[in-house]
Amino acid sequence: MKFGFYPKLAASSILKNKRLYLPYLLTCIGMIIIFYIIMYLAMCSTITSISGGETLQSIFGLGSWIIAIFACIFLFYTNSFLTKHRKKEFGLYNILGMNKHNIGRILFWEALITALFSLCIGLICAIIFSKLAEIGLIYIMHGTVTYDLSVSLLAVKRTLQVFGVIFLLLLIHSIWQVRFSSAISLIRSKNTGEKSPKGNWLLGVLGILILAVAYYLAVTIQDPLVALSTFFIAVIMVIVGTYLIMIAGSVFLCRTLQKNKRYYYKPNHFISVSSMAYRMKRNGASLASICVLNTMILVMLASTTCLYFGTENGIRERYPREINMEFDLASVSDLSNDKIKTLKNGISEELAARHVTPTNEYAYRCAAILGILQEDTVLSDPNLFMAVEPESRLFFFVPLADYNAVTGANETLAQGEALVYTNRKAYEYDTISFQHGATFKIKKRIDDFIIPGTSAVNILSSFIIIVPDLKAGVTGLDSLADYNGDRLLMFSYIYYFDTGMEQEQQIALFHDLYNVVIDASTKEQWGYETITFDSRELSRYDFYSLYGGLFYLGILLSIVFILATILIIYYKQISEGYEDQARFEIMQKIGMTRQEISKSIHSQLLTVFFLPLFLAILHLAFAFPIIRKLLLIFNLTNVNLFILTTGISIVIFAVFYSIVYRLTSNAYYNIVSGARDNL
């Protein structure tokens, strides 16, 4: 009997406070579901087995930590709201003879019930939804869907651990809050105005500094390979900075507005500004949460949509034609006309034997070397290549004869002259000289050239130099070797063509050819060392599984974050509506009209809504360079597409946001003006 007392009391007080508790429980459950699903997808073996799945899973892994941090902040926010509202109840218990220890026990049981309830319901829902999420993901990645319900015990364990810690922290937080306040202060707590946090200037400046560093990181990051981890650091810094700025900044904003007497003493600003100032700490936190969510949604929508719609683009850059062959050759002499003729004939015979006529051929010889561009000089010291530098380039030497042949041009070049093509970063000097090789005078810059697909998708910019004679052009460079003794200059023969066949036939042809081409005797006969041999149609699956998967993840997370945003905004407006009810009642007694209430709500909601959206767009603007570089890893070079998808995402989101605005302002208005009918 004695044992059952506290759990019973805890359970009944949760039931009695269900209007406050329900959103909190829903929030807990929601966060648990999201966390589990992401963890599950990150560990799910069916996804690992799909090509591109592993990359996707490491991204999911990072995502799960962001969710965990987010969940912690979000739950603290809702919980502190809850505790504040219930202090009066605890004060009453205290006065009726319960000591702080007893109240601590009630809090413990409440926390336990909340934790068990939300973890049970959350995990059950999560396991069901995780299957749906998995099916959807596999579908979009063109994998094979299995319909057995699987549970990842590791993900369950991780979820229990993460949320166990969060619930424990929440419990400690509320016990701490109750323990260090007297019965009277507990009873009165609801009426004490929230004092603006101390040292908010320091916090504000700290927030601005952190945000500035994060912005600086985002804007200056050069190397997309480093970008992924930097991006993660920058994201966390932006989150922290946003919270600090919003919490300290909202204090500052309210103070400034209150000091501006002309602005402040206007009917529609007077009430909203003062009630914001009153609750600024919490307002700051919720505005920051909304802002962080908005930023996440925008970044995700913009980048994943861009990736998805850029997939075809990426495929065409990586695979310029339906069948793509890149032969690596042993030496520059293997690039002689005779040798290449043998190779070309070999391919033609194989194709003829299968009744395939290659069309749209694109074939050329080239010699490639990695170099670091220093103004108009190319350094190719092998020791430099340990790290990838921002000014690293892939240099391709292509003989003029091949260039004229593939493009149908009729260019001529004197000795020491060259035509130049660069794919990403422009080159502005008139000459280009190689540290260990020749110097060329740039006769002309050409607009279009299909660079080898494997290099086109490289994050380094490519630099094509069309020279009158390949052998003479690479003199000096061909003797360079790294510390292993491997030659730095690579010789290749590029041969791309279309077949004019259906997708399946192309794939069949590819498989058929593949076995012949990579055969050792063919190798001997054709005279090449290694080959990169791809079918565009076959590889399309890989591309779509990765990009489609990311797109799917982006949409999924966006929906989740949008729901969280709605919940925060709605919850905040509803709860503040109830708080404001008493205030508006007084104002009506003093003589405030319905229109004035409506106006005041309008100006308050407008700030609450559009400040975070504005800051989110600012975050997005600064994140733009870093995201663009991250997209380069996925071989997405089309900046215009990214700008377009970003713009569209912002517009769609803003429209959606306005709808939420209308709904919440109506709900808030109904609560607040309901006071009038109760009089």
Binding site: N191, G193, M587
Partner: protein, 255 residues
């Protein structure tokens, strides 16, 4: 003298939510308040005092009767204009102060005028003498939760006065105050009244009522009796009120 407020045969009947039982809160109330008067309305709990005050404040509508405030029929004012009318013509002092926690005392006092769209400078100028008189000049920048009940109530009086209302309605203004603060507030009321401000106060404190020029007694929804101060001192009036209440309670006296 000019009648600021005239109340004729006001009735208020509440219908309980279930069963349709009718409760008569006000049966038939008639009285007038002249300009510059300080009238107290007394009665036990449940006698209809608060209902009457709510009706006078245009917060509630009577079931029947007429109310003229400065010659204007309160019941004929359009719903949309009621709030503005209240703001411009009436000042309120409540038992629980009804100050907004979100505002400093100063801003609380400014509230009705800011809502009326008055210029900030003008409001400030109006506040200075009132704050001086109510002895709250030093407290203006504080928040309601930082000051005592008496100080809060003085701020509430300042808020009621700043609009220069035709009538101040006070609902148990001393109900939440200690005796020292009560004396202080009543002294202020008398002082404000002596400068020509009309005050109508609902109270069940004999002490509060004994500061008024006239005391109306309400019982069972009707004005049962009234006492004029005449030349009585506060103490004499106090005694008279006390006697009246005793008689009312024992039911021995009829008007």
């Amino acid at each position: 003298m000019n009648n600021i407020l005239s109340v004729y045969g006001v009735k208020k009947t509440y219908t309980t939510r279930l069963g349709g039982n009718q409760v008569e809160a006000l049966k038939n109330v008639s009285f007038t308040v002249e300009e510059g008067e300080f009238v107290a309305i007394m009665g036990e709990s449940g006698s209809g005092k608060t209902t009457l005050l709510n009706i006078l404040a245009a917060l509630d509508k009577p079931t029947g009767g007429t109310i003229l405030l400065d010659g204007k029929d309160l019941l004929k004012i359009k719903e949309s204009a009621v709030a503005t009318f209240r703001r411009d013509n009436l000042g309120f002092v409540f038992q629980d102060f009804n100050l907004l926690d979100t505002f400093t005392l100063e801003d609380n006092i400014y509230l009705p005028l800011v809502l009326a769209g008055k210029n900030h400078k003008e409001i400030q100028e109006r506040l200075v003498p009132i704050a001086e008189k109510l002895n709250i000049t030093g407290l203006l920048k504080k928040y309601p939760y930082e000051v005592s009940g008496g100080q809060k109530q003085r701020a509430a009086v300042a808020r009621a006065m700043i609009t220069n209302p035709k009538l101040i309605l006070a609902d148990e203004p001393t109900g939440a105050l200690d005796s020292k603060a009560t004396d202080e507030l009543l002294r202020l009321f008398a002082e404000v009244n002596s400068m020509g401000q009309t005050i109508l106060m609902v109270t069940h404190s004999i002490k509060a009522a004994s500061m008024a020029n006239r005391v109306l007694f309400i019982k069972d929804g009707e004005v049962y009796h009234q006492i004029y101060r005449g030349t009585d001192t506060n103490e004499q009036l106090y005694q008279k009120i006390s006697d009246t209440l005793t008689l009312l309670a024992t039911g021995g006296m009829k008007k």
